[in-house]
Symmetry: C2
Subunit: 373 residues, 2 copies
């Protein structure tokens, strides 16, 4: 497929403005095979450490590697087992050592080919190998395309806490090929949609309407619609990140809409029971009901989210779990003061507000009200 092939969809660029760390996200369909030309258009790369997981590698490692090689780039392929446990100190050590054994140096680049696990892990390797290598991302899950590949957070887990070791390390460029989502398991795909819905609720009522109007093509992974929702999601997240790159002003907190409930649900149900986006869906509805209880959000707006998330095949009911455990998980998630919790609460579709002083009992009512009736 040549770049002028008329069957191709035009690719689209989202600029992420971060002063000297600014970069572009290039979004297309079928552009994976052009990664070599894309990367050399951004930087003169002679050696790439290409990091992937074994699921993704099966489908896409060779085309990406061949495309890089065709531009004269030497490629070190490093494949780790798929799944969250690879975001570890042990895997990092293995990658550092293997990259070094294959003659990595300060001019090498790191390319992440995979979902959020690979993006976070490879980004951490890029941030720390020889005190920082150029980093390129090719996100292959919907979650990674619309969320984890934007914002520069990279890192790994410790047994006692997720994402606790890491850096802010911006990529030099992100290439998104929405066609790779064809091979993504359905549950993973639907899970990614929850974050897409989130962007509509927190920032963009028109985008939310667009999603409501396009449920079927979204479920069909229609190329045109996918490109639109991925691009708009990246744009919205990039706006927020640009205003608060290192999470210091507090602005970036709005991206955590639904996430205090989500994290409590993930923790108490046991990691793995819910995919992240599934827990986000349940959590957003809790935060919506919380908005109602605080008198700032209308029940119709909760209803619209409920309807959209249901149509997209996402869970909406709160499962029956130990309520004391949920409360204490929420308390740990966001440092509490004097029995008050901090939440991102919606005021209307398109606008959320950080609300620092939510009484615990009200927060818990918004949880228990979500039990299946």
């Amino acid at each position: 497929m040549t770049p002028t092939d008329s069957t191709r969809f035009a690719s689209q660029t989202v600029h992420v403005p971060l002063s000297e760390r600014s970069y572009d996200i290039s979004i297309g369909t079928g552009n994976l095979a052009e990664v070599g030309r894309w990367i050399t258009s951004l930087r003169s790369v002679t050696h790439a450490v290409l990091i992937s997981d074994d699921h993704v590698a099966r489908h896409y490692l060779e085309p990406v590697s061949e495309s890089l090689k065709s531009e004269g780039i030497r490629v070190t392929k490093l494949v780790v087992p798929a799944g969250e446990p690879s975001k570890s100190v042990a895997t990092s050590q293995e990658l550092w050592e293997k990259a070094l054994a294959d003659r990595v140096d300060r001019k090498s680049s790191v390319v992440a080919l995979g979902g959020g696990v690979i993006g976070d892990l490879a980004g951490f390797i890029a941030a720390t190998m020889t005190r920082g290598l150029d980093f390129f991302q090719i996100p292959t899950t919907l979650l990674a395309q619309v969320d984890s590949s934007v914002g520069g957070k990279v890192g790994i887990n410790l047994p006692a806490a997720k994402n606790i070791v890491g850096c802010f390390w911006q990529p030099r460029g992100v290439l998104i090929d929405t066609a790779v989502l064809e091979t993504l398991p359905k549950r993973e795909y639907l899970s990614g949609l929850a974050e897409v819905v989130k962007y509509g609720v927190i920032l963009d009522p028109e985008f939310f309407e667009y999603l409501e109007a396009n449920v079927q093509p979204i479920l069909d992974r229609d190329a045109t619609v996918l490109q639109k929702i991925v691009a708009r999601s990246c744009e919205l997240k990039a706006q927020v990140v640009a205003e608060d790159e290192r999470e210091t002003t507090g602005l970036r907190a709005i991206l955590n809409y639904g996430h205090t409930y989500c994290h409590a649900l993930e923790t108490v149900s046991g990691y793995g029971e819910y995919l992240h986006g599934e827990a986000v869906a349940v959590g957003m509805l809790c935060a919506s009901r919380l908005g109602e209880k605080l008198g700032v959000f209308a029940p119709e707006a909760t209803e619209r989210q409920h309807k959209l998330l249901t149509a997209l095949g996402l869970p909406v009911d709160v499962p029956k779990l130990d309520e004391a455990a949920i409360l204490s998980a929420m308390q740990r998630d966001k440092k509490v003061e004097h029995g008050k919790l901090r939440f991102i609460v919606p005021h209307c579709i398109g606008k959320v507000v950080l609300t620092p002083d939510v009484p615990q009992d009200v927060a818990m009512q918004a949880w228990t009200d979500g039990y299946a009736s």
Copy 2:
């Protein structure tokens, strides 16, 4: 001892100008016990992760910890075994986990109390824990006071390479108490002097003369003279670092004067045989002889370095080692092109020049000419 105690030496400040990462190095004698007030004058610190090694901790952990606590700062004390092997992935993992277990969060600070090993290791923890914590350094070896605590390079070793994993992470402040050098073993102290001499040769002929004129007080660790040489060394390194913070323009390379030979000597003699500064002393003289051979440096200037280093108790003779091994170590140190090597070559005391095309045989003659006669 109160801050107005007349027996105290005035403390002195060296500013390191790095735009929004600028900070001050505060240099004094007996100021260690004031670390609590110093740190709170810089940032509002409520929790400090204080990292040290078991040699240094024996003398200085309690005074530092008590001073921090007296300012209401909660202190997590983490002590690792003294020595280079602590600059490892395994020790990092241990420190990350222990800091986390003692409730580190994004508002915590890391304080390094020790030599270059502790500075590099603790700095790496600071750079990576919760994506970056405020970092404060209290260097306790001469090498750390004049060299490793300035410049923002932090990191750890892999079995196959030193300092290969790390970041650039600037401290918020550095506190130097030259009185702690009293307990430093003599060989460590002398070793640190080699880097001090280096600053004179590469940047400051008057400072070099000052060193020549003050050999005995330097050997006596005289407080006034120590403060002067530490402050001037920090100033000179800070100037270079400010012009090339992330080692991208090549300017920072002049700090490597003598270091290509030094690294070859360290590698081939086996790590641990020479202390770093000892190998620097031998290496600087090789680089000086190289300058002579290239016709840009005068034999008298080599002679002055030889005399000063000898007077300071540093080794000056090149040991008999496998010459092929030395050459190949130098080739690996600085990527060679077509049999040419890159060296920092002196043109006069106070000025060095990066010389990219030194023939290998000339480089080796400057080495073998240094054999004890």
